[in-house]
């Protein structure tokens, strides 16, 4: 039986060394402090960024909590809805849609949008423009996403939030007969306005 040669006998390990022979590769220039493919150590480069982001996130949320306490309306009264009865801001786009048609606004269109979103990566498979913001080769896709999804979502929320008053009537914001919407109300309330 041939004696098995242990790796350490050929490449003796020195625990004080921070490098070792892994394999022989082609290439001519040794690079210092930089791995192949522009890689850096996650410690500390990634970690420090994550720590800063967490601190910022925590401080901002805490500041908002102190400065603008969350709203609490009157206790629930099943006999009498407030007028206007508004959902939280992120559903006001939906509420605006629902005010045209209950089924299509509340289920039909949102359902189609969500299923549509899920299919995007299976339909748009062209391997270009990955890793760049608004790559030129993807301008059609970017415009389509913006005009079909992003802008309508935001506009509907803005209309529902700032342009709808009592009985869901249309009022310009400077002529709104009721209190400002809840988020703004609590921010400005917090400012003592």
């Amino acid at each position: 039986m041939a004696k098995r040669v242990r790796e350490e006998e050929i490449f003796p390990r020195n625990p004080n060394k921070t490098y070792g022979l892994m394999e022989i590769v082609k290439g001519s220039s040794p690079r210092v402090d930089r791995g192949p493919d522009d890689m850096v150590s996650s410690w500390p480069h990634l970690l420090i960024r994550e720590a800063i982001l967490f601190a910022a996130c925590f401080v901002i949320v805490l500041a908002l909590a102190l400065w603008a306490p969350p709203p609490l309306e009157k206790p629930a009264d099943p006999t009498k809805p407030p007028n206007p009865a508004k959902a939280p801001w992120y559903f006001l786009g939906l509420q605006e849609l629902v005010s045209y048609d209950a089924f299509w606004g509340g289920l039909g269109i949102p359902g189609i949008v969500i299923i549509g979103l899920m299919f995007i990566p299976y339909l748009d498979r062209h391997h270009s423009g990955i890793g760049r913001w608004f790559a030129k080769s993807r301008s059609t896709a970017c415009w389509a996403f913006t005009l079909i999804f992003v802008v309508p979502s935001i506009i509907l929320i803005i209309i529902g939030t700032y342009f709808r008053g009592p009985n869901w009537g249309f009022y310009p914001p400077w002529n709104m007969p009721v209190e400002p919407p809840i988020i703004l109300h609590s921010i400005f309330g917090g400012m003592g306005l």
Binding site: P84, A85, D101, A102, G106, P166, N167
Partner: protein, 159 residues
């Protein structure tokens, strides 16, 4: 677990057949169990105000008046000898409508109804429900919210 087709005999191999059957039973069992969990959430008993309630004697309702029974969300109207019960639950998405000069308005998404409960402005698509009224042996009138009747179906007071 691939499908193992025996080309000569033109059928699944015996082993494959049993394997598929076993997994099939396994899957059906799991799905069945899950479906039973679903049944767990179906409310067998519903809590809430009773669907039949008494509104008292017909003489409580003067001619031409609209009376609002708040905790039942029902309006009682009377024209001459005719008494009707109109639901105040908006046909759009269930807010409570409020009486207005033209009939009923919904604060949630702006539906409007006339005094009879017909839609005059969307998004609601059908008029407010009318409920059947009957007379109890005591002489009191009873509204049955389980009994939805066409708009304009009145209880006629015998004089």
């Amino acid at each position: 677990m691939a499908i193992d087709f025996d080309k000569e005999k033109q059928e699944l191999t015996r082993r494959n057949f049993f394997s598929l059957t076993a997994w099939g039973i396994y899957g059906v069992g799991l799905l069945g169990g899950l479906a039973l969990c679903g049944k767990f959430f179906v409310p067998n008993v519903k809590y809430g105000p009773a669907s039949k309630f008494s509104i008292g004697l017909a003489s409580n309702f003067p001619d031409g008046a609209v009376q609002n029974i708040q905790d039942q969300k029902v309006s009682i109207i009377r024209h001459g000898q005719n008494i009707g019960a109109i639901s105040e639950v908006c046909q759009h998405l269930g807010c409570t409508v409020a009486a207005s000069s033209t009939g009923y308005d919904c604060p949630c998404h702006g539906s409007k109804y006339d005094a009879m409960g017909n839609v005059t402005h969307g998004p609601a698509q059908i008029g407010l429900f009318w409920f059947g009224i009957s007379q109890l042996p005591s002489g009191e009138l009873q509204v049955d919210k389980g009994n939805i009747v066409p708009i304009g179906t009145y209880y006629v007071v015998k004089s």
